[in-house]
């Protein structure tokens, strides 16, 4: 699972899908996850990175991560490798 190549992500958390014209804003944690996904990182690496920056337990991370990526998929921002 990765962010589609043509999706533009700015440093301020603004995401633009040039195929549909839709745009979204994400908060700093969302921004971090999107950036990791852009770099094609696996969930284990992303979890490690997020948990080293934010206070969070395993279960909470996984629940929120899957919720978030589900949302990205619904908005057609993700593609499978």
């Amino acid at each position: 699972m990765r962010i589609k190549k043509n999706i533009a992500v700015s440093d301020t958390g603004f995401i633009f899908n040039p195929s549909s014209g839709d745009s979204y804003s994400v908060n700093p944690i969302g921004m971090d996850i999107v950036r990791h996904l852009k770099q094609n990182k696996e969930i284990v690496e992303i979890k490690h990175a997020i948990m080293s920056d934010y206070v969070c337990d395993d279960a909470t991370f996984e629940k929120d991560y899957y919720d978030f990526t589900m949302m990205l998929r619904n908005y057609k921002l993700l593609e499978d490798e």
Partner: protein, 349 residues
Amino acid sequence: MNKPKYTIAVTGLNAIDSPGPGLAIIRGLKDAKSFDVRIIGLAYEALEPGIYLHDYIDKTYQIPFPTAGQEVLFERLSYINSEENIDFLYPNFDAELYGFIKLQKHMEEILGIKMVLPTIEQFEERHKVNLYDYGIKHDIKVPKARAIYSTAEIPAAAQLYGYPLVVKGKFYDAKVAYNNEQAAQHFNKISAQWGLPILIQEFVRGSEVNVCGIGDGKGNLLGAVPMRKLYITDKGKAWAGISLDNERLLELTRNMVESTKWQGPFELEYVKTVDDEYYLLEINPRFPAWCYLTVGAGQNQMEALVNLAMGKEVEPFKSYKVGTMFIRYSNDLIVDINEFEKISTIGEL
């Protein structure tokens, strides 16, 4: 290098809530790098705002409504041409295009005025009433539709397509109806303004995406910019939009131009469903009111069309800037009554 200076006449100066494309075209022409322009406005009514925008339009003449017939139009254009020596003319209303297409040869041969327009066959074939058959012929998905002439035909059409359905005028206007009563109301309102037939069309749910482009009449697409409407007015017009990176839309556009040998400007109106399928809603045989976005995105299609008519070599545009937005705004012009008096009485300003 000396640039040529062309005198270009433009209709569609009604920059109102459902705007004509005239002013957007004029802005594109004023931005042209390959020629200078003198703009002649052609207006139907004295309250078309473009008439009073003297920074954009050098002189405006009133012209007769299409219902007056081609002879009257030709006579008026002959007079205007004797005053202005027009090189090129941009008709911009669906309702006036038929007359201009019919007069095209005459206007070029007798008055020396060039236009780039679809052929009468292309114009008729893509007509809303014929669009479904057009889709079958050119392998384009089009929502099912039928033309009706009386409200008594609504229940039968509704039985075929179910509710909601779309009630459309033959030239302009489209409204969604959720029951027979609403459909009848829309029928009466639209037919009173635009005449019969009225089109009853299957409703396709999705987001509206449009393409503004030009074809050279030989099957080549000279330019195309896809746009998604970001804000739609209650009249269904785009108040804001953004250029898209959408290869599928460009491919559909290329196929349409190649298959029909489309000549001149066009706007394709599509609905994109949640399953990423595209349904063609309309082909407008002219530039849309949002066409200045193509200039902003790096394709001055209005300039290219004039150069095509002048026999210059026009290279197809290869790219455009994705993510370019337009946001329309309204403004109040302060106008001296003398100006209104002049255009109302003499028909010139």
